[in-house]
C-alpha cells in the first residue's frame, strides 16, 4: 500500500478549505485542514505533511507571517510551501517567492492544473533531494564506509545471508557485520542505533568499531564469552561522552562451526527466532541485556544452543516488525513469525522475494534488517 501524499491546507474560509480538501482527496491526496496559521502550527506538531498550501490573506497571522514563522523552526523549514491565493498582485507573489515559498497557485486555477502543479512541485523537490542524497552516498562510498557487509562469510556446514533496506533510501542506524576469527569461529553482529537517517548512520560506525575491537581483544585474550564481550562494549559506550547519549541495541552471536554451537547475548534487541528442524518448533530466544550504554551494568546473559542440520535462526531489527495497519502504525513480533512460517523449509532466497519483504521495501517505516543462519549439513 503506497502512502498517499499529505497536504496541509491552511485557509480562513471554511468553504474554500472544505471544497479544496474534498477535491484533493478525490485526487488521492490526504488533506490536513487548518482554519488559521495557529491551527496549522498545532497540526504540524502531530503530523508532518509532504507540502503546505496556505492562503495569503488571513486574519491574526497572515500567510507571510506563517511562512516566516515556519522558516524560523528547523524541523518545519524544509517542508515545501506553496501560497494559495486569489491575488494576482505581482509584488505579493514576489514577496512570497522571497520567503522560499517557491511557488503559488491562484484559487481559481482549474483543479487538474492545481494537482499537476503540486505534483510537479513535489517531484522537483524530490529530485533535488535525491541528487543531494546521491552525492552524499558517493562521498560515503569513497570513504569506504559501509554499515552492512559487502560480502557474505563462507562457513563450513552453514549458510549465512542477510536482507537490509534503509529508511527512505537514507543510510540509517541499522548495522550488520560478520567477524571471521578463523575457520572455526565467526561472530554475527546486528545492531540498531536508535534514530534514523544520517545521524544514526554516523553513530553506527562508532558502535561497529567498538564491537569489532571488543570481539578481537576478548578473543586474543582467550575470552569466548559473548556476555563478557557485550559487557566490555557496554563499559566503553557508557563512559564515552561521544556515544553515551546515543543508544543502540545489539544482537551478538558467536558461531562455533566445529561444534555446531551458537552462543548468543543481546542488548535491548528483539528475541531471535529459532526453528528447530527436529521437532518442527519455532521459538523465540530472548536475552536479558539492556540497551548498550544505558546502565553501567547491562545485566547481560548468554544462551548456548547446539544446532542440527536444517535448524535455522533469524535475527532482526524493529523495522521488520513495524507495519502500517488500517488504524495506523503498529509493532507486532508475530507478524514476522506468521510471514516466515511458510518459508521455513524453503531457501532463504525465496523469502527475500516474498510479499512480506517486498512490501517492506515499498512501504517500510524504519530501517529493516534481517540476518539468516542455517546449519546445512
Amino acid at each position: 500500500m503506497a502512502t498517499s501524499k499529505k497536504i496541509l491546507l491552511v485557509d480562513d474560509n471554511p468553504l474554500v478549505l472544505e471544497m479544496m480538501g474534498r477535491a484533493l482527496n478525490k485526487e488521492g491526496f490526504y488533506c490536513m485542514k487548518a482554519i488559521s496559521a495557529d491551527a496549522a502550527t498545532e497540526l504540524l506538531k502531530q503530523e508532518r505533511p509532504d507540502i503546505i498550501l496556505s492562503d495569503y490573506h488571513m486574519p491574526d497571522v497572515d500567510g507571510f507571517s506563517f511562512r516566516q514563522n515556519l522558516i524560523a523552526i528547523p524541523e518545519y523549514k524544509d517542508i515545501p510551501f506553496m501560497f494559495l491565493t486569489s491575488e494576482e498582485d505581482n509584488d505579493l507573489m514576489l514577496k512570497g517567492i522571497n520567503l522560499e515559498a517557491v511557488d503559488y497557485i491562484l484559487k481559481d486555477t482549474p483543479l487538474p492544473v492545481v494537482v499537476s502543479k503540486i505534483n510537479n512541485f513535489l517531484s522537483t523537490v524530490r529530485e533535488q533531494h535525491e541528487r543531494t542524497l546521491k552525492e552524499l552516498s558517493v562521498a560515503a562510498m569513497a570513504l569506504n564506509l559501509h554499515s552492512v557487509p559487502q560480502k557474505l562469510p563462507v562457513i563450513n556446514g552453514f549458510e549465512v545471508d542477510f536482507w537490509h533496506r534503509s529508511y527512505q533510501n537514507y543510510p540509517g542506524g541499522d548495522f550488520i557485520d560478520f567477524i571471521t576469527i578463523d575457520e572455526r569461529y565467526t561472530f554475527i553482529v546486528l545492531g540498531d542505533v536508535m534514530g534514523k537517517k544520517w545521524g544514526a548512520w554516523y553513530f553506527s560506525f562508532g558502535f561497529l568499531s567498538y564491537i569489532r575491537a571488543a570481539v578481537r581483544i576478548c578473543i586474543s585474550e582467550g575470552n569466548f564469552s559473548t556476555k563478557n564481550i557485550l559487557q566490555k562494549i557496554n563499559d566503553v559506550v557508557y563512559h564515552d561522552p561521544v556515544v553515551n547519549d546515543v543508544l543502540s541495541s545489539l544482537s551478538l552471536v558467536m558461531l562455533d562451526a566445529a561444534e555446531s554451537v551458537i552462543t548468543y547475548s543481546g542488548a535491548g534487541d528483539l528475541p531471535l527466532l529459532y526453528y528447530n528442524s527436529v521437532d518442527g518448533n519455532l521459538q523465540q530466544i530472548g536475552s536479558s541485556g539492556m540497551l548498550l550504554g544505558m546502565l553501567q551494568d547491562g545485566d547481560f546473559d548468554e544462551v548456548t544452543l547446539k544446532l542440527n542440520a536444517g535448524d535455522r535462526f533469524f535475527m532482526f531489527t524493529d523495522g521488520i516488525i513495524d507495519f502500517e495497519g488500517t488504524s495506523g502504525k503498529k509493532t507486532d513480533y508475530n507478524t514476522f513469525v506468521e510471514a516466515v512460517t511458510p518459508y521455513l523449509n524453503r531457501p532463504f532466497s525465496e523469502f527475500k522475494r516474498s510479499d512480506f519483504l517486498q512490501e517492506k521495501t515499498t512501504d517500510h517505516i524504519d530501517d529493516c534488517s534481517l540476518i539468516y543462519l542455517q546449519k546445512t549439513i
Binding site: 506538531k45 502531530q46 503530523e47 508532518r48 524541523e75 542506524g173 540498531d192 536508535m194 534514530g195 534514523k196 537517517k197 544514526a200 553515551n244 547519549d245 546515543v246 543508544l247 541495541s249 535491548g268 534487541d269 528483539l270 528475541p271 536479558s288 541485556g289 539492556m290 540497551l291 544505558m294 546502565l295 545485566d299 524493529d318 513495524d322 488504524s327 495506523g328 502504525k329 503498529k330 509493532t331 507486532d332 513480533y333 517505516i365 524504519d366
Partner: protein, 112 residues
C-alpha cells in the same frame, strides 16, 4: 509542546500529546523532559495514553531522559501504554528500566 504537564500528589504527570511518537518529535520530547528535570521535578510520570505507535528514535529519547534523570537524582515512570507499545517495552527489556503503570493518576496516588 509535545508534553502537557500537571502536578498530581507528589508527581508531575507529563502527557504525550501526539498519536505517533516518532523521529519528528523525539528531539523536542527529550528537550522538554530535560527542562522538566532541570526545574527540579523529582518524580515524572510520562503518560502514553494518547500514543498509538512509538518508534526507536522516540524510545532512544525516553531512555536518554532516564539517564539524565538518574544523573539528577530524579525518577521517571511510564504509564498508559497500549498493548503494542507495552509489548515492545517488554521485548527490548525496557520494562526492567522503567516502572510501568496502567494509569498515570493511579501511579501518582500510589507514590508515597
Amino acid at each position: 509542546m509535545i508534553l502537557e504537564t500537571n502536578i498530581y500528589n507528589k508527581a508531575l504527570i507529563a502527557d504525550i500529546q501526539v498519536k505517533e511518537a516518532n523521529l519528528t518529535v523525539s528531539d523536542n520530547f527529550k528537550n522538554e523532559m530535560a527542562a522538566l528535570i532541570d526545574k527540579g521535578n523529582k518524580y515524572i510520570i510520562v503518560n502514553f495514553e494518547k500514543v498509538m505507535y512509538v518508534d526507536s528514535s522516540f524510545l532512544g529519547a525516553l531512555v536518554s531522559s532516564l539517564k539524565y534523570a538518574i544523573a539528577n537524582k530524579a525518577e521517571i515512570d511510564v504509564a498508559g501504554l497500549n498493548k503494542d507499545v507495552a509489548g515492545l517495552f517488554q521485548l527490548i527489556r525496557l520494562n526492567k528500566a522503567f516502572n510501568i503503570h496502567a494509569s498515570a493518576v493511579e501511579a501518582a496516588i500510589n507514590k508515597s
